[in-house]
């Protein structure tokens, strides 16, 4: 491996834009994510965080700008192609296969990257090569005892963990997590935070999050998005001290809580 591969950004956004009608939701975002980085994106409701995640993952097309992933221009690729390349995301509103068992949810993500899925015979649900990997991941995310359960009937916290297990099963080279703590109870969220601490050692992560405590505990760098623009970017300390951030977004109360 060259020295370059150790420091070159895994993801580079250049002047990304998107409007819904007259509303400029993403207004010239440029960002580079390093290979060992957990980069948090924070910002008030409606700032355009989810839209940015949609653009990066390919769920929403960008009006202009450029997205490079490990040096490749992926701006024109659809979401499934980006996922196969290792750009894997989660959703602010949990997205799983509700009618499948927890095990099959994860096994399908393993299947997506192990051989052709244009096979018309053989029982996919009984393929040990897929199920073994899936089972290991379920166990890792504390869901071993839920393997046979219908995913749609798991608790909200369990669904969050399942979504992370699915994402990891897809062999991510960059994880894109949109508010993985949204709607979780206090215990559930500390469980997810602990999981994220582990994951950040294995894979670079973009974490969109509302929970300040979590962000400042986890992030190597933080970018603040307001009205579709990044108004500050840096280490948690730098961002915390940034006067523009304080006035524009954090407010006195939040700023106090952070110090």
């Amino acid at each position: 491996m060259t020295g370059d591969a150790l420091t070159a950004p895994v993801l580079r956004l250049t002047d990304l834009r998107k409007s819904y009608g007259a509303l400029r939701v993403t207004d010239g975002v440029s960002l580079a994510i390093g290979p060992r980085e957990l980069h948090a994106i924070i910002g008030p409701n409606g700032a355009g965080k989810t839209t940015l995640v949609h653009q990066i993952s390919g769920l929403a097309a960008s009006d202009s700008g450029r997205i490079e992933f490990y040096g490749e221009d992926i701006t024109a690729l659809p979401m499934d192609a980006r996922a196969r390349a290792g750009l894997v995301r989660s959703f602010q509103i949990v997205s799983i296969l509700p009618g499948f068992s927890a095990l099959e949810n994860v096994a399908l993500a393993v299947q997506a990257r192990s051989g052709s899925s244009f096979r018309f015979t053989g029982d996919a649900a009984a393929e040990p090569a897929l199920n073994d990997v899936a089972m290991t991941l379920l166990a890792r995310f504390g869901l071993a005892s839920r393997a046979g359960f219908t995913a749609g009937l798991l608790s909200h916290g369990e669904k969050r963990q399942l979504e992370l297990a699915i994402a990891m099963a897809a062999a991510p080279k960059l994880l894109l997590l949109d508010e993985p703590l949204a709607g979780t109870s206090h215990e559930e969220s500390s469980r997810v935070i602990a999981t994220l601490k582990e994951l950040k050692r294995e894979v670079p992560i973009i974490l969109v999050e509302h929970d300040m405590e979590a962000v400042f505990a986890l992030a190597d760098r933080v970018s603040v998005l307001v009205y579709g623009r990044i108004i500050a970017s840096g280490t948690p300390d730098e961002v915390r001290r940034d006067p523009e951030v304080r006035s524009a977004y954090l407010g006195d109360e939040a700023a106090e809580a952070m110090t």
């Binding site: 993952s57 769920l59 659809p78 979401m79 499934d80 192609a81 996922a83 196969r84 894997v88 995301r89 959703f91 997205s95 799983i96 296969l97 509700p98 009618g99 499948f100 068992s101 099959e104 399908l108 993500a109 299947q111 997506a112 990257r113 052709s116 899925s117 244009f118 096979r119 018309f120 015979t121 053989g122 029982d123 996919a124 649900a125 393929e127 393997a147 046979g148 359960f149 219908t150 009937l153 699915i166 099963a169 897809a170």
Partner: protein
């Protein structure tokens, strides 16, 4: 109440006993169909045999539609087009003296595959109501094409004699045709079961459950859905070949939107996504229509409400009704 029942189901990973119970109904259905001719022997055999042959053929067509609707979330309102392609392959070829069933079947499958590929490639770029409308439009397109084929009977359709097998007119026997239809139905059922359980089928079912999630793990729904669309079209064309032989007649009515609607109905009636439900639905549909039309000229006025009641109160269709719980 349902919620609670579902939860219990979820808590216990499926036990073996329920798997056996799941197999019981399809086995019973095919056993009844296999023994049917023997029982019919004591009654009005010819009439019942013909009725049951038609039921199995519609069951076959409906089963292929179940692969689309029940497994792949593709509500095609033009599926009868493939029934027509199969039937006209027999009609047109036999009018030119080509009686061999394998040539007819080969032509039916090839044309069905091409038609499915071309229309599916366009239809699958749309979703929801638009998909329903565009498949309907393609079906009607074929309907008007067949009505304009003056050389092959146009509006009135075309009489034909049954296909030959290796030069022999073995399908002349109603009993043989019955068992050929039975074998086709059983073969297709087993093949569809295999497909549904396979890697491909699991992707298809996943796309039905949550297409965005499937894309997010790397599956492009379009390729899988188009493949399923072609496979289902080809299976339905087999039903068309059998239908032409059973009725010794083809007409544009086979392709009409009413027929496509009937097929959707049969699938829903039988139980979406179950495959064998399509046979139950077809049986209920043809037998009820036959029985009611024997009672009164205005049988449609009784038939319609019965269908509405079944759809409203038997969620999961006849398949789940007969299995007890769901």
């Amino acid at each position: 109440m349902n919620e609670i029942a579902d939860r219990n189901l979820a808590v216990a990973p499926r036990p073996r006993a329920s798997r056996l119970r799941q197999a019981a109904l399809p086995v019973a259905i095919f056993a009844v169909l296999a023994l049917m001719p023997a029982a019919a022997h004591f009654g009005a055999s010819g009439y019942i045999l013909a009725l049951m042959t038609r039921t199995m053929i519609y069951g076959l067509a409906a089963m292929s539609l179940d692969l689309l609707i029940g497994c792949g979330a593709m509500i095609s309102f033009g599926h009868a087009a493939f029934l027509g392609i199969g039937a006209y392959a027999v009609g047109i070829l036999s009018s030119h003296g080509i009686d061999d069933v394998f040539i007819q079947l080969g032509a039916a499958l090839a044309v069905a595959a091409l038609f499915a590929l071309a229309t599916g490639a366009i239809s699958l770029r749309t979703h929801g109501v638009y998909f329903i409308m565009i498949t309907l439009a393609f079906g009607q397109m074929l309907y008007f094409l067949f009505t304009s084929l003056a050389a092959y009977g146009g509006d009135d359709g075309l009489s034909l004699s049954r296909s030959h097998v290796f030069g022999l007119p073995v399908l002349r026997s109603d009993l043989t045709l019955y068992y050929v239809a039975f074998a086709a139905l059983l073969g297709v059922y087993l093949a569809c079961r295999a497909i549904v359980a396979s890697r491909f089928g699991r992707v298809l079912r996943g796309i039905k459950d949550n297409p965005v999630r499937m894309q997010a793990i790397g599956f492009a729904p379009y390729r899988y859905q188009l493949t399923a669309y072609v496979v289902a079209g080809m299976i339905c064309a087999v039903a068309g070949v059998l239908l032409a032989n059973a009725s010794e007649f083809v007409s544009p009515a086979y392709v009409g939107w009413q027929r496509s609607g009937d097929l959707i109905f049969v699938v829903v009636l039988g139980g979406l996504g179950t495959l064998h439900g399509a046979i139950l639905g077809a049986a209920a549909f043809t037998l009820l229509a036959e029985f009611l039309s024997g009672l009164t000229e205005y049988w449609g006025m009784i038939f319609g409400p019965i269908l509405v009641v079944v759809v409203l109160f038997a969620r999961g269709g006849l398949a789940s009704l007969l299995r007890g719980t769901r």
